[in-house]
């Protein structure tokens, strides 16, 4: 009966109860969104680097190399010679070396030239292949293409379709003459390579032989010689183990024409650089959250206080302190549970929209799903709301019942 009374009390004041739920929901949604964005961005960026143990690329900014190779953003620094790739492939410290070549796009989606070994590449040893085919087969000959899940969905590409590549990294450049034929569609990898079109690296070389034989990447050397026709933009290197990775890294310090980087380390350094800005943003978020929690507490408090007369009537009918306490706690709990549920759903809804926007615009896939931190938000939110409801309960109990009758 006490729960029935609590529920009916809330229904009897739909506008007030609705507003309270709305305020609680807005606070919790904000809290959820800040948590999801903070951890989702971090995890999403780190996860994107997982398939890339080591990357070899032209000398220059490691950040640019990671942005270009891992996130398919920005322009490449330059190219490295095919000899470096050959040397790495034969290196006993290396499990696999996969060449990557950038320079073309199709409707804004990066075309990645690579070897067929990319389809055997494992993010972590023993955890299965990184790129798995949903439909079709891997490319076998030049100008066959395997399309990332995101590209296939956005452009409606399917096996058997054809397209012409555009030079450069933005749509609207001059087109190449060769037709690419889609032979496979990838399963989603929940990373930037969902927005990639994979082609045999020879396709890139052949396509650029005709127009600009010296250019594989956007930024390329001006000299034209035969060797540069087979340059690569980057090399994904999978070392045999951690110590082998460190030895390779040491060896590469002496390499004049290329650099070797640990992408995960670059990301960590990037977070460290961005740390101050992130710290400021977090401070602003915390201030907003504290304000939200205060508004939420006040809302629940006023809501509970406005029911003082109903509680006085219950007391007059002989309700014990425990009865009244149960009813008030149940009212506050119902309001906050509803608000928290709506807030969590709203927070996830907004986050989901952001994930989609980020994935389509920047190829950075934020991780989604429930997080342990949300458990704290749920439990904390409900307890905080109930606590706010207890204050008027105590005040009411101290006030003479007759005052409200």
């Amino acid at each position: 009966m006490r729960l029935v009374i609590a529920w009916r009390n809330l229904l009897a004041k739909p506008v007030q109860s609705g507003l309270t739920v709305l305020i609680v929901a807005a606070t919790i949604a904000m809290l959820t969104l800040v948590t999801l964005l903070s951890t989702g961005t971090h995890d999403g960026l780190v996860r994107a680097t997982e398939p890339f143990d080591l990357i070899v690329g032209a000398k220059g900014s490691p950040n640019q190399l990671v942005l270009n190779t891992v996130f398919l953003q920005d322009v490449p620094i330059g190219n490295v010679s095919h000899e470096i790739y050959d040397k790495l492939s034969a290196d006993p410290l290396v499990t696999s070396a996969i060449p990557l070549a950038f320079g073309d796009n199709y409707q804004g989606y990066t075309i990645v030239g690579s070897g067929s070994g990319i389809f055997q590449h494992e993010s972590k040893t023993g955890q299965g292949q990184w790129l798995q085919l949903a439909v079709g087969r891997p490319f076998a000959v030049p100008f066959e293409a395997v399309v990332g899940a995101g590209v296939a969905q956005k452009l409606g590409l399917k096996v058997g379709d054809g397209f012409k590549s555009i030079h450069g990294f933005l749509p609207g450049g001059h087109g190449h003459d060769h037709d690419y034929h889609v032979v496979g569609i990838l399963e989603p990898v929940k990373g930037p390579y969902d927005q990639a079109i994979l082609v045999p690296i020879e396709s890139i070389w052949l396509a650029h032989e005709k127009h600009e034989p010296t250019l594989v990447a956007e930024v390329a050397a001006e000299d034209h010689d035969h060797e540069k026709e087979h340059e690569v933009t980057a090399i994904m290197v999978k070392p045999k183990g951690y110590s082998e990775a460190m030895r390779l890294y040491q060896q590469f310090q002496r390499e004049p024409g290329a650099q070797m980087i640990f992408p995960a380390q670059v990301i960590v350094q990037l977070f460290s650089i961005l740390g101050q800005g992130e710290h400021m943003l977090k401070m602003v978020a915390y201030v907003i959250i504290v304000m939200g929690l205060i508004i939420m507490a006040l809302s629940v408090y006023w809501s509970a206080l406005s029911r003082a007369r109903e509680r006085a009537i219950l007391r007059a009918l002989g309700a014990s302190a425990r009865d009244v306490f149960t009813i008030i706690v149940a009212e506050s709990a119902l309001l906050t549970i509803l608000g928290v549920a709506v807030g969590i759903l709203t927070g996830h809804g907004i986050y989901w929209l952001l994930v989609r926007a980020m994935a389509s615009k920047t190829a950075i896939v934020l991780t989604a799903g429930l997080r342990p931190d949300e458990g704290y938000i749920i439990v904390g939110g409900i307890l905080f709301g109930m606590l706010a409801g207890l204050i008027p309960a105590v005040l009411t109990y101290r006030t003479e019942v007759a005052h409200y009758l």
Binding site: I313, A319, A321, A402
Partner: protein
């Protein structure tokens, strides 16, 4: 038996004490039905609140069947009130968020006098007696004033209390409804052998009672003292 001895209730008004009611002695026997009369502001409501245990006297004592209500702990008074007191408030104080039936079930759930499985049946029976069997699912605001008054009466008697108090129960009713409500109260009190105290300033209502208790306001305009006389 209800005994009110040397009771005085004071309120703090800023920095001075204001006396709301003073009763030297009032004794009402079990089964007795009494009209409590007096000018507006003389302390009738305060006295009923004191008798029901909603207020505690500043001085003096109130006993019901030799139990000193005024000395009880608040939690015990709550329990005692749930089982022993049926109160028809001046403002009715029906719970607006609950249906007519639920208003009665709530009162029973706190008292725990009627076995749980019989509560619904008894509430139906009582509402039929007060001619509201077709309004059980309605909310108080959907009823007329007379109907709301009858719900308040039904709620007051639902636990078969030893003490029935009614504060101006007919004030907002027309003559027919006023007599109907009064008749119901008197009938229930007679059947259960309860004490009935009805505060009123309506002469026709007063005339229905054999005993009238008069609360006198000594200083006109300021409630600083009142006494109670029993008139046979």
């Amino acid at each position: 038996m209800l005994e009110v001895n040397q009771v005085r209730k004071e309120y703090r008004d800023v920095d001075r004490a204001v006396t709301a009611v003073t009763v030297d002695s009032l004794i009402i026997q079990n089964g007795e039905q009494v009209a409590l009369v007096g000018p507006s502001g003389c302390g009738k409501t305060t006295l009923l609140h004191l008798i029901s245990g909603l207020l505690t006297p500043t001085t003096g004592e109130i006993k019901v069947d030799d139990i000193t209500i005024s000395a009880m702990k608040e939690t015990w008074r709550d329990t005692w009130r749930a089982t022993a007191v049926g109160y028809v408030f001046q403002r009715l104080n029906l719970l607006g968020s609950l249906s007519v039936l639920d208003n009665l079930l709530v009162a029973m759930s706190f008292a725990r006098v009627i076995p749980k499985k019989e509560q619904r049946q008894w509430a139906h029976e009582l509402l039929t007696q007060v001619k509201l069997s077709d309004k059980m699912g309605k909310f108080p605001h959907e009823l007329s004033m007379g109907e709301q008054q009858r719900v308040a009466v039904a709620r007051a008697v639902i636990n078969k209390p030893r003490l029935m108090l009614a504060d101006e129960p007919t004030a907002s009713l027309d003559q027919d409804n006023a007599m109907l409500v009064l008749e119901m109260l008197r009938q229930f009190a007679t059947l259960s052998g309860s004490i009935l105290v009805v505060s009123t300033h309506d002469k026709q209502i007063m005339s229905q009672f054999e005993r009238i208790c008069f609360l006198r306001q000594e200083s006109k305009g300021v409630i600083d003292s009142a006494t109670c006389d029993s008139l046979a």
